[in-house]
Every structure is written in structure tokens, then in C-alpha cells.
Amino acid sequence: MGRTIGQEQNLAALMRAAQGGDREAYAALLSTLAPLVGQAVRQRFGFLQPQDIDDLVQDILLSLHASRATYDPARPFLPWLMAIARNRMADSARRYVRRAAHEVPSEHPPETFPAEDANVSASGYGDVEALARAMTQLPRGQRQAIEMMKLREMSLKEAAAATGTSVGALKVSVHRGMQALRKAMSTTD
């Protein structure tokens, strides 16, 4: 992250403005930082998938957001940013190691029960096209809720923030949507 003094001063000025509540300056600052942080993450975690790198970059920006009061305008900006980035990357590395330690690679998932219902993965996931058709028949709210929570595996909080609805309303939408999908799929069978 080699930067010139001018760029450093520019970033520090944007951060000072952001501390004062200037949203445009903040958006400009984060947009400038995202590729710099991405580069630092790629240097350290070159083996990660692009999506995982994006997630880590967003995690670092989120930590910057939560810690913005700790930036002292009288001090250089980049060392402050990089301390946050290093801390989040170290956390991420620890998570990665923990996950890897508990994962058991297996090419052939063992069959647990002979009953067909218990081995859906062995026989595929049913009629994917019919499921896609059934999804398009759902009301917009239910479809969106299922896409976010079941397909993209977002948490209730995340999905509620993304859709602008309450957690309760989201739960109802998912429940009704799943019921409708089950009904539609059973008629297809």
C-alpha cells in the first residue's frame, strides 16, 4: 500500500470530514480504500476465492466504520487503517484454520440410512425446473425472502436490513413461501 504524502493527506482529510458526518466524503474515502484493502488481502490470502476476498474487504470496511471515532485527525491515516486491516485478517485466518481443522474432506458422502427419503442427495434434488417455475409464481415478498434466506443463506437480521422489512414479517414470508412451494411441488409429483 505504498502511497504518496499527498494521497495520505487526502485520505486523512476525507476521514476527518467523515467523522464530521459528511456522507459524500465518506463514500469517496471507502471507494478509494476498497481496492487498496483488497490488494492487501490478496497479498496475504491469495488462495481465497474472489467472493471470500470481497467478504473480508467488507469486513474490514465495517470495522473501520465501527471504529471511526478512534482515528485521531492529528495522526497519519494509513497506519491506523492497516492496523484495523491486519487485525481483521488475523481474525479471518484464525477462523479459516478453525474451520479447516473441523472439516473432513470426503468424496463420497456416506449413506446413513437405506430409506430413500434419508438420501435425497443421492437421487438429486428433484425437478429443479419445476421448482424454478414455482418460485416465479410466488408473490414478490415471499420469493425475495426465500431467495435471501434459503438460497443466499443470509441471516434474518441481514435479510431484514436488505429488504427494509421487520424480522417478524420476514419469518412469515418465508413460512408462507415454503408452504406454497411444497404445495406446488407435490402437485407436480
Partner: protein
Amino acid sequence: MDTAEFIKRLAADLQPVRPLRPPWARALLWLGLALLYVAAIVWRKSMINEASQVAGNARFLAEQAATLATAMTAAIAAFCSIIPGFDRRVLLLPVVPLGLWLASVGLGCVQDWLQRGADGLTLRADWDCLPSAIVMGIVPSVMLVIMLRKGAPLLPRVSLALGALAVASVANLGLQLAHARDASIMVLVWHLGAVAVWVAIGGWLGAFVLGRRHASSVR
């Protein structure tokens, strides 16, 4: 979520913040308030009993000065530890005053032993001062946690352990004025033992108490 969209949301979530004061200033503010609180308790309960008698005791005064210095340096180190980019050597600040405090109490043990033989090192259970210690520690602990949570949880266990050391030191200072002057062995085992336990609890709970907080509306 796409990073550009994510940035847009973060910017929309932005609220103005006041930059934190330097760690030493925050530590001084906390220590001042904590000492006022402890002094008020000692005063209200008329607990200063031997302060006048021990005023001329150089070792006692040195011990209290080391305790106060431990509180101040531990608080500075704790407040530094929540600032990204701080010099990690700052974390060692309390080592010297804590060492002096321990040395002073250890010297007291030796003096008691030389003067009174084995009787000078007799240890007994003394639970009377526990309620006072807890009361003296509550408000400084709450203040410290609130102040630490305004920073970045880079090393939450270390930050809270240092904070606990600062709180325990202030409470000890109050206790030394609050009850009958104990034999040094009692101070070493009960007071400093309690400090060690409190620091361990702080380290254990650090990640939970100072854990990472994010703008929940963003993701």
C-alpha cells in the same frame, strides 16, 4: 453483497462522531472520577482509621504510590489498546509499578517476619473487607467498560484485563485506607490475590464484554 452497494449503505448509515481524546487524557479522567468515588465511600463510612498513623510510614506510602501508579499506567495501557496502530510496548507500562507494588508488599512480609517471627506471617480468613472491595470496584468498572467500548476491540481480552488491573488497584488503594492495617502477608495473599483473580476474570470476559460491534443495519 456487492462492495459498491455495501459502501453506499455504510455511507448512508454514517453519523457524525467525536474523535476520542488521547488515551492518557481518558485514563486521567477515569482515574480522577474513580478516586473521587472511592474517596466518597471511604469518607461516608468514616473508614479512614489509621491514615494518620501510617502517614509517616515510608513503606506504606511507597506501597500506595506504587498502587496508584499501577492504576494509572494500567488505565493508559487499556485505553491505548483500543486505538488501532498503537505501539504494543505500551501494554508493558504497568509492569514496573506493579513490580514495585509487589516488592513493597514482599518487603513488608520480610519485615513482619523479622520483627514477629512466624506470627508475622500468619494467614487468616478476612471476608469483612470483601463487600467494601466490591462496592469500591463497581462504579469504576462500569465507567471503564463504557469508555473502553467506545474504542476498537483489537485485543479485547488484554484490554479488559488491563482495565481490571486498574480497577483493582484503585479499590485496593481505598481498602488500604478503609480498614485496620493488615499484616503484609494478608495484603499479599488476599488483596493481591484478589487483583490477580479480577484480572483473570477480565481477560476471560474480554471478548464477550468488548466484543466486536457492527452497524447491524448495514449487513
